[in-house]
Amino acid sequence: MLLTSVVILLREVLEAALIISVFLAFSRLLRFSGRWLLSAFVLGGVGAASYAAGIDRISSLMDGIGQEVTNAVMQFCIYVLLVVFIVAVTYRRGRGFDPGTLPYVAVFASVVLAIVREGSEILLYLYGFFYSPQLLPPVMIGGAIGAGIGFSIGVIFYYALTMVPEAKRLPVGMAVLTLIAAGMISQATQQLIQADILASQRPLWDSSGLLPEESVAGQLLYAFIGYEATPTPLQVLFYFCSIFIMAVSAGVAKWRAERLGRL
C-alpha cells in the first residue's frame, strides 16, 4: 500500500507541480508577485473537493460519459488560457515589461483548473481508505513521500527555468508552456476518444519498446509534453495543430507589437 500511494500521489502532484513551477518562474520574470499561488491553491482545493464529491453524478451525465467531457473541457480551457497568456505577454511586452492583468488571470485560472483535475483524483483515492482505516497510516505516509517527490521535481524544474540566461528566458518559458499546452490537448483528445465522441483508431506508432509510458522517464515526459507511447493519428494531429495554433497566435501578437513600436 505504501509503494502504490507513493506512485499515485507522485503522478498527480507532478502534473500540477510542473504547471505551477513554470508559472512561478514566469512570475519572477514578468515581475508580478507569486501571491496568486496561495489563493489558487485554496480555490483549486475547493474545486477539487466539489468535483470529487459530485463525480458520481457528473459521470452519469450524457449517458455515462460526463466525466470524460468534463475533463476534456477543463483541459481545453487550460490550453486556451495558455494561448491567452502567451499572446498577452508577447503583445504587451514593452520597455517597462508591464504585462497587465490578463496574463495574471490566465495564470491563476490555469493553476486552479490543474489543481481541480489532479486534486480531485488524490481526494478520491484517499477517501477510499476511510473504508479500510487500518490502511490509512501507510497510505498517508506513502502519499506524503510521493507528493514530496513530485513537489521536489517541480522545484528542480523551477530552478532550471530560472537558470536560463535572461535573454533566452522568455522564449524558453514560452516553448515549455507550448508543450504543456499541447499535452493538455493530447489528454483532452484521449478523453473524448474514450467517450466515443472522437473516432478511435489504431495507434500510429508504438514506442513502448523505446520508452514505456509507465517508466519514470515516461511519466515525466507525459506530465511535461504529453508523451504517449501509442497515440492515435487523431491525437498526433491535434497535438501538432495545437502547437501550430499557439505559434501562429504568438507570431501574430509579436508582429502587431512590433508594428506598434513596442518591440
Binding site: M1, T4, V7, I8, I55, D56, S59, S60, D63, G64, I65, Q67, E68, E121, L124, Y125, Y127, G128, F129, F130, Y131, S132, Q190, I193, Q194, A195, D196, I197, L198, A199, S200, Q201, R202, S208, P212, E213, E214, E228, A229, T230, P231, T232, L234, L237, F238, C241
Partner: protein, 113 residues
Amino acid sequence: MKSSRNIFIGLLALSGLHFPAPTSAETPVFELEIRNHLFYPSELEIPADTKVKLIVHNRDPSPEEFESYELNREKIIMGNSKGIVFIGPLPAGEYPFFGEFHMKTAQGKVVVR
C-alpha cells in the same frame, strides 16, 4: 496556401468527429466487475478490430480508477457505481489494465483475438 491547408486540417478533424449511436446495436457490450479490489473476470476476451463498450461495475464501497497504458484509458468509478469505457478497434494481442487505486491486486488484461 494557408487557406487550403486550413481546410485540409478542418476536414481531417471533422472526419474524426462522430456522435455515439443512440442504441448500441452495432457496438458489442462487455462487462467487468470490481470486487474486493479484484477484477472479475481478470481476462476479458474481445474480438479484434472491433469497437467495444466496456461497462465496469464497482461493487466495492470505495472508488477505483480503471486504467491502462496499452489501451490508453483511464476513468474513475465511485463505489457501488458503474462506468462506461469504449475500447478498440484493436489488433490482436494482450492489453493489461489495472485499478490505479489498488494496483497490487486489481489487475487484468484484455485479450484480443
